[in-house]
Symmetry: C2
Subunit: 345 residues, 2 copies
DNA sequence: TTGTAGGCGTTATCAT
DNA sequence: ATGATAACGCCTACAA
């Protein structure tokens, strides 16, 4: 039988009273119980259980200045956000790592440009201890914001502005070895005896796209512009790019697409145009996106990156600096890629 | 030139001092400025601007007992969570509505069964004012939790337990008219002269699946079990189910799939088996999922539901009860569906 | 090892 | 219309 519950939810005060100790001791037990006699620890824990006590988060945050929450900012205005399995997996990785560290995930979806004011207010309002952000485009206002308000932030994917002056200061990010992965893919195609290897690139305002293009060019140093078409990382964009390429170079015998979604779009066009894959045209994608690469027909040979692992890493990097509490920049990590051979090349 | 900033972020105290008013007045201005002389309002606002003041969220929550945040709980342990466009759109709708009401979205991903302890602690800890939850299976422990701790909650999709005794008390949810939509789809197939109409059902532990099956049966009251196969709402599952159906009833001339993803899976199998769509077999899906229904070949005739709108509605329902602050149950809403005619039937 | 007491930044209840 | 002042629930020196 529960005692009569005193109005609202029980406070530490109530727990202390019930256990016959002071608030301070009760607090110690709640926070690990270091230096409290076992006997009292038990008593307090019993009281906690009986009363169904749960610490009040706001009160705790007020004094500790730690919220135990991290913002995940997704600044992709378009549909891609969730429909691209890339994000899902990265978020999942982040979620796992945060959960394992008792940290909450606050999702901030940026719908339009005006949302950045809201985001800044939110970040500055002390709702979260740090931020994780994705797929920044070159002119994204977010880095300036996080810097101004001194919010520790880790980016997913190398930000595009690092090429310019270091006006944004040091930045930390987690990114796959896009350039190296692309090189490996193209070298493989070359090794297979392919001679006219085209590239379907992603949008040029994202480093993942430009890095992969650079990797392609590293190997094919004199590939003409006719062999390169720009897509937008969607299947439809990949189809459009493939159509262009075939019109320009009907004789091409291989395609390296900057992601799997575009590769599947290309696959459809190749089939329509009567090209067999990999017979007439070899096709390599990038991401090893689940439910995309494997289920394609034929299954996609692709460059795998450990997306979920990258998500975990982002979270870990951020949490580490939050613990150190010294305002140091988290640092960056480049994760390796690997070529997965399937049926398409 | 900013004055020397006093250590950390400026407090209301600092604003008041600078504006030459009391904390109380400053607070009034921050919260709308009702009943404060315009002259003072200006002064305080100037101080706020000059100091870059942002209210401390924890302090405010501590006294108002309102967090301005809502949890979105996704209890789908599998990949589907984000890769199914259904969730993306509903979350987007939720996000928009919450944002418009200055409310934050805290994402709670349930990875495994043990996570519910963590969820309960979180919900009970006063981090959020209410919760939004999705796609509950019949034995989901969440409703019991939210009820026990008195957390206002709106469900996406009719919960499965409402058939049993009302042990969970009144529940509020937003759901599409799954049964009615299914009826319309099947009636349409009948009107087109189809005689052997099969159904690819979703998993039977979700009401969206059972309701659609019920709608199918409403029209085809004597459809034998041979015409029904159970999928899992994924494309691969749809393909498996289609294979079964064709093996059992090679002569079937129409299929109603419980969602678009399964319909596309079925489409692939039909093509492989040499059936033309809609010539030999008419196919109708459900959802009108973007990037799925329209881009299928042929484009899918399907039952549309306003998914984003349902998300907004969930958020609106929840916010309304939170405002009323009277612990009343939000109530439920069934949203209409409509048949969208495209190429597949 | 335990308790006392002060303060975190805000809102809300009173007087004035 | 404005200003003291008391909560809100917790942590943490500091004292005992």
């Amino acid at each position: 039988m529960a005692e009569q519950l005193p109005a609202g939810r029980p406070t530490l005060e109530a727990v202390a009273a019930r256990a016959g100790v002071s608030r301070a001791t009760a607090s110690r037990v709640v926070n690990g119980g270091e230096g409290v006699r076992p006997r009292l620890v038990d008593k307090v824990q019993a009281a906690i259980r009986e009363l169904g006590y749960v610490p009040n988060h706001a009160a705790r945050t007020l004094v500790t200045r730690r919220t135990g929450a991290v913002a995940v900012i997704i600044a992709e205005p378009e549909i891609r956000i969730f429909s691209d399995p890339f994000f899902s997996r990265q978020i999942r990785g982040i979620s796992k790592e945060l959960t394992a560290n008792d940290t909450q995930l606050v999702l901030l979806l940026v719908e339009d440009r005006g949302d950045y004011d809201r985001i800044e207010r939110y970040l500055a309002g002390g709702h979260v201890d740090g931020a994780l952000a994705f797929s920044l485009h070159t002119d994204d206002p977010l880095p300036a914001i996080t810097r101004r308000i001194g919010m520790p932030t880790v980016y997913g994917g190398r930000p595009g502005w690092t090429g310019g002056a270091g006006e944004h200061g040091p930045v930390s990010y987690v990114d796959a070895d896009n350039r190296g992965g692309a090189r490996e893919a193209v070298r493989y195609l070359v090794a297979q005896g392919r001679r006219q290897i085209a590239h379907i690139a992603g949008p040029m305002d994202q480093t993942s796209a430009t890095d992969r293009l650079d990797g392609y060019r590293d190997v094919l140093i004199d590939a003409g512009p006719a062999l390169i078409a720009e897509g937008d990382f969607t299947a439809a964009g990949g189809a459009r790019a493939m159509t262009e390429l075939l019109d320009r170079r009907p004789g091409l015998d291989a395609v390296f697409a900057a992601n799997d979604l575009m590769a599947t779009g290309a696959l459809g066009v190749l089939r329509e145009r009567g090209r067999s894959v990999p017979g007439d045209v070899a096709l390599v994608g990038f991401d090893d996106a689940e439910l995309v690469a494997e289920t394609a027909d034929p299954p996609l040979t692709t460059v795998r990156q450990d997306i979920e692992g990258m998500g975990r890493l982002m979270a870990r990097l951020l949490l580490r600096t939050l613990d150190k509490e010294q305002g140091g920049v988290p640092g960056s990590v480049i994760t390796p890629t690997s070529l997965v051979l399937r049926g398409s090349a």
